[in-house]
Symmetry: C2
Subunit: 274 residues, 2 copies
């Protein structure tokens, strides 16, 4: 391959960095694949960094020193975040979603890969700083998985999924009982005993928080494993009950229920979003 021009290198660097968020690529990595000098690559990175910022396409962080290099972190503008969350709210408000028992059919929203990616990017941005350090993303099956996958990919950490069944095919488990907010019944969740390394920091991600039973159950699992909860992120929370079983969490959309006219009351939670 002949030597690339600057604009070709710029395009390639953007692709490589943004394809692997939160992964550090050394200058050497780029000097080798492009057969270029370090100074050239450094200049390329300055351009990449600036264009990403100018166009609100994310943040490129350069790391100085011997182990230095660059990594990409998703960063949505306030407008992009608001538009995404407003669009999801608009989608939720469709009265066809109301199913017998005054529940809302939400699976298509929670499984929408474009929404999941956007929400994952918002959670990723929030937990990408040095101080928040996340080693794993944990969710409980099933509806929060797409968002959790995208968050784990954004943070470049493994995903762990707690199950409701104790599958014999998966070896020794740790289990915990918790009260499910949606059914009010006692449920059990299981994770593989060695799924999470002792002393890790775990980000809990879920689709919907009512009373916070699942989040509390997952927090208990994390503590049982001698790990720490780095944070709790949900896409939706319900205003009822006002008293939650966990004290701090991030929620992007607030659900207030269905009023007497059959209107679905849901709105962005700007306080946590922006």
């Amino acid at each position: 391959m002949s030597k690339l021009k600057r604009n070709e290198r710029i395009g390639a660097i953007v692709k490589i960095l943004s394809d692997a968020p939160n992964k550090v690529f050394t200058l050497n990595y780029f000097t080798e694949i492009f057969d270029s000098a370090k100074s050239t690559i450094s200049e390329d990175l300055v351009i990449v960094k600036k264009l990403m910022e100018d166009l609100n396409l994310g943040r490129v962080m350069t790391i100085a020193g011997a182990a230095g290099g660059a990594k990409f972190v998703p960063a949505l503008s306030k407008i992009d975040k608001t538009q995404l969350v407003e669009r999801i709210c608009q989608d939720v408000r469709n009265p066809d979603r109301i199913v017998p028992g005054n529940f809302l059919y939400m699976a298509d929203i929670l499984y929408n890969p474009v929404y999941a990616k956007g929400i994952g990017d918002i959670f990723t941005e929030r937990y990408s700083s040095e101080e928040s350090r996340v080693d794993y993303v944990l969710t409980v099956e099933t509806k929060g998985i797409p968002i959790a996958v995208m968050t784990a990919r954004g943070l470049n950490v493994p995903l762990v999924i707690a199950r409701h069944e104790n599958k014999v095919t998966e070896g020794p488990k740790l289990s915990i009982n918790y009260v499910s907010g949606s059914s009010g019944t006692l449920r059990t969740m299981y994770i593989a005993k060695n799924a999470i390394r002792k002393g890790s920091r775990v980000l809990i991600v879920d689709d919907f928080m009512r009373a916070g039973g699942s989040a509390k159950g997952m927090s208990a699992l994390v503590k049982e494993l001698d790990c720490e909860v780095a944070g709790i992120c949900v896409l939706f929370d319900s205003v009822h009950p006002t008293q939650k079983l966990v004290s701090r969490y991030t929620s992007l959309i607030r659900y207030e229920g269905i009023d007497s006219n059959g209107t679905i009351l849901v709105h962005p939670n700007y306080e946590d979003l922006l």
Copy 2:
């Protein structure tokens, strides 16, 4: 914002296209955000297309005509595909994975976001052509979900997840009984009645195929909904039983069991991979 230079536009175009695979962006979209002439953007796209191909970063397809524009499709080189699948095989071969009953603990591999993205890209590439037309990706909970999410995102189509429980909170369901290969028992899977539009083409994605019971069950659901199976993609299949319940499917890794020395026998299925 001042006018961007060519290398800045190139970087931005790469980011925008590759962030939304299989989504067509019109020339107008780019002329507006960059405040540039169509001819300029067309030249940019030629450069983007070439650099992506030269560096094996994917394929940019330009669509001519009034509704014309460009879209990005993942395309891994043979080397990249082989390396990814070899790496997964190597990971599977770790004897610590063997759990009582001679089962393999595989959750961490199936939930690994980097693997899931790579496998999703391979399935996406295979089903991105005009002829294969995919309207939905369908999986059954739980372990195939990460791969299915990435495939749905790559193909830019909704994801549908069949459940093992009939959740009252989710409205009317269609259900089907099938024989589970892993347990040999009769199981039921459910999907929301309106999750898939009549007449659609559905790509079935799953983590592991033994006899093909789940895949056959999902195919039956698809047909019940007056839809067509566009294809069946699994990450792993087992050589036993040799007779599967579905006639055609794609599998990237072949599992032959654990031999008498405790060696895990697994290898890339090059025929389907390359």
